[in-house]
């Protein structure tokens, strides 16, 4: 029989996070604590769920237009103008997607030809590289550095550019490091992008969870000359605690959105109608919930930073998302080894930094999407663990 498989897809290894998940599942022990989850611990705010329920009772169970409900696209457009100071035409520049993930895939496929290079600064979430490979493009990894607090520097970007470079990924606030790019950092990157005539895929799914200021993090699309070179990916999952609703959006120049729309139209049709209505409610009346959750996360973040400092585990002051990225190099173990032993000896699951790229080696991803009570217990376990291994 012939090989039934597509060679590009076959060559991509399965997600590194998955391996660890399987280990935790295998233990099947109620005493296991986990700081591994990358989604909010809050339930979706009740008023948003209420709209979802009403949508069902009212029988709004049909397809919407491919791009998504116009009412929702208008709300997104207003939200982006107000929160990020960048304007998009809801009719031609906003596409509602199934979570941020669909937008990432559609954007990469709409923009890259086989052989084009896409620059991917790591550590980062696990989906970008495979999506580039699926599109036949070549991912070019930049290994970000702890001494820069995992921000991308213009020098690092310059060094990775070749004549084939077309698209640069920016994913801030970052999963797994929690790093945030400030406006002044983005300005330096924007200059390189414009000088080399490149484009940006800016995954801003964690933008609301920015502890450096009261508002969200800066969008690179809001900088002069960048709106026409940037596709912004954002969504409801992290900010509004709506992961299971699978709602995201892409906003960008109409020329790109139009092509992304084709992929979306033929592969997806439209996101679930119930979720779209709930998302309208989220944008109209849910920003106070976002602030509440952000304040909760921030308290936990400060608590963890203090505990890591007291334990003598170096951890930079990450000001975004809900992750810290402590460095465990001094214990003489790889990230994998540390995480495996921590799970076996103290029943605490964390994700090894190496699951997010080779530059994550020597670090752990600590999610603080957990109650303070869980975090207190977890930190006590880490303290015991390092006492046994110092």
């Amino acid at each position: 029989m012939r090989n039934p498989l597509n060679s590009y897809i076959e060559a991509v290894p399965p997600s590194g996070i998955r391996k660890f998940f399987d280990m935790v599942a295998e233990m099947d022990d109620p005493d296991v604590l986990s700081l591994g989850v990358g989604e909010p611990d809050f339930d979706t705010p009740w008023h948003i769920r209420g709209v979802g329920i009403n949508t069902l009772t009212e029988g709004k169970t049909f397809y919407t237009s491919n791009a998504g409900l116009m009412e929702l696209r208008k709300e997104i457009s207003k939200y982006m103008a107000k929160r990020y100071d960048v304007e998009y035409d809801p009719a031609s520049e906003v596409l509602i997607t199934v979570g941020g993930s669909e937008g990432i895939d559609a954007c990469i496929r709409a923009m890259l030809d086989p052989g084009d290079e896409m620059i991917i600064p790591e550590p980062c979430f696990v989906s970008y590289k495979p999506c580039a490979v699926f599109a036949g493009a070549k991912p070019v990894v930049i290994d970000l550095k702890a001494e820069n607090e995992f921000r991308l520097t213009p020098e690092e970007l310059e060094a990775a550019i070749t004549p084939k470079t077309k698209l640069v990924l920016l994913t801030y606030p970052n999963n797994p490091t929690g790093a945030v790019m400030r406006k002044e950092d983005l300005e330096k990157i924007a200059k390189v992008i414009i000088d080399h005539d490149l484009f940006v895929l800016s995954d801003e799914i964690y933008s609301e969870l920015n502890y450096a200021s009261d508002g969200p993090s800066t969008s690179i699309a809001s900088l002069p000359g960048m709106r026409e070179r940037t596709v912004v990916i954002n969504g409801f999952s992290k900010a509004f605690a709506m992961t299971g609703w699978r709602m995201g959006w892409a906003a960008g120049p109409s020329a790109v959105i139009k092509q992304m729309m084709k992929i979306h139209q033929f592969a997806i049709m439209c996101p679930p109608t119930m979720s779209q209505y709930a998302s309208i409610e989220a944008l109209r009346n849910g920003l106070d919930d976002v602030t509440y959750m952000k304040n909760e996360y921030n308290g936990r973040r400060k608590f963890l930073l203090k505990r890591f400092a007291e334990m003598g585990i170096p951890c930079f002051n990450a000001q975004g998302a809900f992750y810290l990225f402590p460095c465990i190099k001094k214990f003489g173990m790889s990230s994998d080894e540390f995480a495996e032993k921590l799970l076996a000896e103290q029943k605490l699951a964390v994700v090894p930094g190496s699951a997010f790229g080779r530059s994550g080696e020597g670090f752990l991803r600590i999610s603080y999407a957990y109650s303070l009570k869980s975090l207190e217990k977890s930190m006590d376990r880490i303290e015991k663990f390092i006492a046994n291994h110092s």
Partner: protein, 159 residues
């Protein structure tokens, strides 16, 4: 800083004081002092454990009692309230608007004990015009906490 301390304590009164300081990103001594001050000023009136007595097989009968009274000359409702809340059986009492004057919460060992309290202690008080006793049959949510159902993480282990 007060409001931030209270926001944390309201949901998690048992948090260790140095963890509280950690969460707020504030100096431990300052937080200790502020909590002390608030306790002294009765901003913080106490620390309460919400218990589901049913779960440990303890028979309890909780009731709230609507009480109509004649306000006393000079002291209004306050003196009446004091006469009622001095009884240890009374866990809470509120002056309310609407069809009665006070809502009194009683925690008794049995329905009979609550009934006896009302008929022998509360109703005969001078100034009490009428009482309506309403027993609590089932608690769903109390002081912001769900009474039933285990707290479990609904998320998959790692994502």
């Amino acid at each position: 800083m007060r409001e931030r301390i209270l926001t944390v304590l309201e949901k998690n009164a048992r948090i260790k004081i140095d963890d509280l300081a950690g969460v707020l990103g504030e100096d431990l001594d300052k937080v200790k002092e502020e909590v002390n001050n608030m306790e002294n000023e009765k901003v913080i009136c106490g620390y309460h454990t919400i218990i589901n007595w049913d779960k440990c097989g303890m028979e309890k009968a909780d009731a709230f009692i609507e009480v109509k009274v004649t306000p006393q000359k000079g002291t209004g409702f306050d003196q009446m309230a004091e006469r009622i809340y001095q009884y240890p059986e009374v866990s809470s009492i509120f002056l309310i608007s609407g069809s009665c004057d006070f809502i009194v919460f009683i925690e008794g060992k049995s329905m009979r004990e609550v009934a006896m309290f009302v008929s022998e202690k509360l109703s005969p008080l001078d100034g009490v015009l009428s009482t309506t006793t309403q027993f609590i049959l089932k608690k769903y949510k109390q002081d912001g906490f769900m009474v039933e159902g285990p707290e479990r993480d609904k998320r998959t282990e790692i994502s």
